[in-house]
């Protein structure tokens, strides 16, 4: 078996540093998820309103965030604001801002989709049974919306975790950046370390995202 450079992991605190980097990536994505989900639910509800002004504004927001690559958004928020407004924000804060903006837009669109996918007949047959509009939402609409939403929003969470690998470009030392540092430091002693370390990073991402996907799949199967 060729030397894959796994021994580098055992040198010094290298493995602990990688785990620390993973924690940074997870911290950024989890904080952003916690911010995005309630804001996204609000945005999704606003997007179903018939008011033309709210429609146009939410549409513009959604399209801008979606069309722009996350990396450009990161540069814009991290470097752009420093030059233009003189804000000195940390790379991690800039990342959380960008991921929350993005997560809110995506979550909003998911919520909107779930809400409008409930057929009008569901509302009608509920009111024909004498349910008030509050009862209709509580017992009929919200349970169905959540069933449609949970698998989709869990997928969004794994996408956000994976996309945090971009934040090294604005100097945040997350798992991929730590991996690069370890490889650089051991270039002479273990020239093959790149393979072993990046493979470890791959496995770490996989271990972080896989259980989440499994939950999403299980829920999907249960609720169809």
């Amino acid at each position: 078996m060729p030397d894959l450079g796994f021994e580098v992991l055992l040198k010094g605190k290298n493995f602990a540093r990688l785990m620390g980097g993973l924690w940074v990536a997870l911290r950024i994505s989890l904080i952003s998820v916690v911010i995005s989900i309630p804001l996204g639910i609000l945005l999704g509800i606003v997007m179903t309103w018939k008011n033309p002004i709210s429609r146009v504004l939410t549409r513009i927001y959604l399209e801008i965030i979606r069309i722009m690559p996350q990396l450009v958004l990161l540069f814009l928020v991290f470097f752009g604001t420093t030059r233009t407004f003189g804000w000195d924000i940390s790379g991690e804060l800039a990342s959380i801002i960008v991921f929350s903006l993005w997560g809110t837009a995506e979550m909003g669109d998911l919520v909107r989709g779930a809400l409008i996918s409930i057929p009008i007949h569901q509302y009608e047959s509920a009111s024909a049974l004498g349910l008030s509009s509050g009862q209709t939402f509580l017992y009929i609409i919200i349970p169905q919306t959540i069933r449609r939403l949970i698998p989709l929003s869990i997928n969004l969470i794994t996408r956000m975790i994976k996309t945090t690998s971009l934040v090294l470009m604005i100097g945040v030392v997350e798992v991929l950046k730590v991996a690069q540092q370890i490889i650089e430091a051991n270039r002479m002693a273990s020239p093959n370390a790149a393979f072993g370390i990046y493979l470890t990073v791959f496995i770490l991402y996989f271990l972080a995202c896989w259980p989440i996907s499994l939950v999403a799949k299980a829920l999907e199967r249960r609720w169809q």
């Binding site: 007949h121 009111s127 049974l129 349970p143 169905q144």
Partner: protein
């Protein structure tokens, strides 16, 4: 035939400039079964939807038991409990089992005891031949089974009048019968019903009165034998003719009939 249960006076319903129902008046006695027939788009379904206040109306008064049905009244949910409505597309709640579909409104709206409602629901399910499907979700049921559950769901609210909006129109032919049998059974029990349907033989069997609706107006109202044998108006004759076919091939005439 008992007292007057439902009265509709000078009902007018428009969608924008399009008049769907015009100055329509109708009374329904307790225990009466009225079948509404007519060409597509004549306003049959709209009439039922107006009675249940699912549609705003532009003129006239609809009264149930002397109480006006008005979309703005606070009593609307209370009035709607007295009106059971079954739709063409069943519209069961997909996240609830058949039993929970039936018991939700009696428990949450009428605040009845869960045990009592479930016992009644199971009894009604047994009557329509679905007791063993009580725990199934709608997606596990066939169209005819779903529609029977939907009928039981309406029945379990103890409505005074039931509205059936083309309840067999979305079903495969072999499932139509099982649903119509349930309706016939309800008619035998003396329930007050308004039925919109395209099943003419069924209409004839179940109705006390047939109403022919065309162009948003009642063109003809008569007992079924009279309506189907001797329709008075030309429009009704023309409509009924669309349900009969002339034989165009000779199968051997009487011989064939004798064999059958």
């Amino acid at each position: 035939m008992g007292r007057e249960l439902l009265s509709i006076e000078h009902l007018t319903k428009r969608y924008g400039d399009l008049t769907v129902l015009e100055d329509l008046s109708l009374t329904v006695q307790e225990g009466q079964v009225i079948v509404i027939v007519g060409p597509s788009g004549c306003g049959k379904s709209t009439l039922l939807r107006c009675i249940n206040a699912l549609e705003p109306i532009q003129g006239g008064i609809i009264k149930l038991d002397g109480q006006e049905i008005d979309r703005d009244t606070k009593k609307l949910p209370e009035l709607r409990q007295k009106i059971g409505m079954v739709f063409q597309s069943y519209d069961l709640f997909p996240h609830l089992t058949a039993l929970d579909n039936i018991t939700l409104a009696p428990i949450k709206v009428q605040k009845r005891k869960k045990a009592e409602v479930e016992a009644e629901a199971l009894q009604l399910l047994e009557r329509v031949g679905l007791k063993d499907r009580a725990g199934d979700y709608p997606r596990q049921l066939s169209g005819g089974q779903k529609q029977r559950v939907a009928i039981v769901r309406a029945l379990c609210m103890h409505p005074e009048i039931m509205l059936f909006d083309e309840v067999t129109a979305a079903l495969d032919p072999e499932m139509v019968r099982e649903v119509l049998d349930v309706l016939l059974d309800l008619a035998k029990q003396g329930r007050t019903m308004l039925i919109v349907t395209h099943e003419m033989q069924f209409a004839r069997a179940v109705a006390d009165q047939v109403i022919f609706l065309d162009g948003g107006q009642i063109v003809e109202q008569a007992p079924p034998d009279q309506f189907f044998e001797h329709p008075k108006t030309q429009r009704a004759q023309k409509f009924l003719n669309t349900f009969t076919f002339e034989t165009i091939k000779n199968h051997g005439g009487n011989d064939y009939e004798n064999q059958a």
